[in-house]
């Protein structure tokens, strides 16, 4: 599965959304209704899925779906 698809799938699952609504420029908190605990859950799931570690200061910069995808691509490559 491509990183983009995986990220959309995880976000949709965690936030109980239709994957079609998880568009790249959607903000996790303001548009998709995530709360701070959901963001932490999301980060932890990404850490497990991709076997990486996301420091808090980097996690704070992840505002939109696209941010998450870009970050993961950089981190994994």
């Amino acid at each position: 599965m491509k990183i983009e698809d995986k990220v959309v799938k995880v976000i949709a699952e965690k936030l109980n959304l239709d994957p079609a609504d998880v568009v790249p420029n959607a903000a996790l908190i303001n548009d998709l209704g995530a709360d701070s605990l959901a963001i932490v859950e999301l980060i932890m799931t990404m850490e497990e899925e991709f076997d990486i570690e996301v420091p808090d200061e980097e996690a704070e910069k992840l505002v939109t779906v696209e941010d998450v995808i870009r970050y993961l691509k950089e981190k994994i490559s």
Partner: protein, 248 residues
């Protein structure tokens, strides 16, 4: 193993005293009771026997809750084996009683490490699973000493008061995920911890209890079972006393 388990309960310090009574009270068919012990004398056999007698599945493990690594392994085992955590009871506690002027740094640190940091370690790990499953009950066993104070127990009282603040903060954090977090504050309960006090001291304490007797570990266990039940779903962030009126 996963398919038969309906409920997974984790009790720290479950090999004796209040912890043993809590394990026994939660024991029922298809319920897996994980409990740890750390002291070298303890084996957990008696608790395991009581859990089995009630039809539960006992899983005793030697874990020092003050060790982050050991707690991580403990919870990994639990989740690997049963796939869920329904109830966490942070009961593990030690005393290193002395008057303030005689408390050594090590006595302070040991008590805080087990009673407070241990609860933090276990709660953090359990919460990872509970947040995902969108349900859970966390019960912290604090003490009357953490509310009213007790001479000779500055370290213990500080750890137990700390546990109350911890309970309240975590209750607020996890409430949106259908997880309740409460504290039980036992008064004077008949356990190894209180039986080692001199008879005269014990009699003096009991004379101060309106109900005129020490409590039994089961008195505390019954409340823990209630707080973990469906019936208690609207109670969170509270400190509930079980003390025969010793502190009102």
């Amino acid at each position: 193993m996963t398919s038969d388990i309906k409920r997974t309960i984790v009790v720290t310090g479950g090999s004796r005293g209040i912890g043993r009574a809590i394990c026994a009270a939660f024991a029922s068919p298809n319920t897996c009771i994980y409990f740890n012990f750390s002291s070298s004398q303890a084996t957990g056999e008696e608790t395991a026997a009581q859990v089995s007698a009630a039809g539960g599945i006992p899983r005793p493990l030697r874990v020092n809750v003050a060790s982050e690594k050991e707690v991580l392994d403990f919870f990994k085992t639990i989740v690997d084996e049963t796939g869920r955590i329904d109830v966490l009871v942070n009961n593990a506690g030690i005393t290193r009683d002395n008057l303030l002027l005689r408390i050594k740094d090590k006595d302070w640190d040991d008590v805080l490490e087990v009673n407070l940091k241990g609860a933090f370690h276990c709660t953090r790990e359990a919460a990872k699973t509970m947040v995902r499953q969108r349900s859970g009950r966390i019960i912290n066993i604090t003490s009357i000493a953490g509310v009213a104070g007790n001479p000779g127990q500055a370290n213990y009282a500080a750890s137990k008061a700390g546990l109350i603040g911890f309970t309240k903060a975590v209750a607020r954090e996890l409430s949106s995920r259908n997880i309740t977090v409460n504290a039980i504050a036992p008064g004077f309960i008949e356990t190894g911890m209180t039986l080692k006090l001199p008879e005269k001291t014990r009699a003096g304490i009991i004379s101060q209890i309106p109900l005129g007797r020490a409590g039994a570990p089961e008195d505390v266990a019954n409340l823990a079972v209630f707080l973990a039940s469906e019936a208690a779903g609207y109670i969170t962030g509270q400190v509930i006393h079980v003390n025969g009126g010793m502190y009102i």
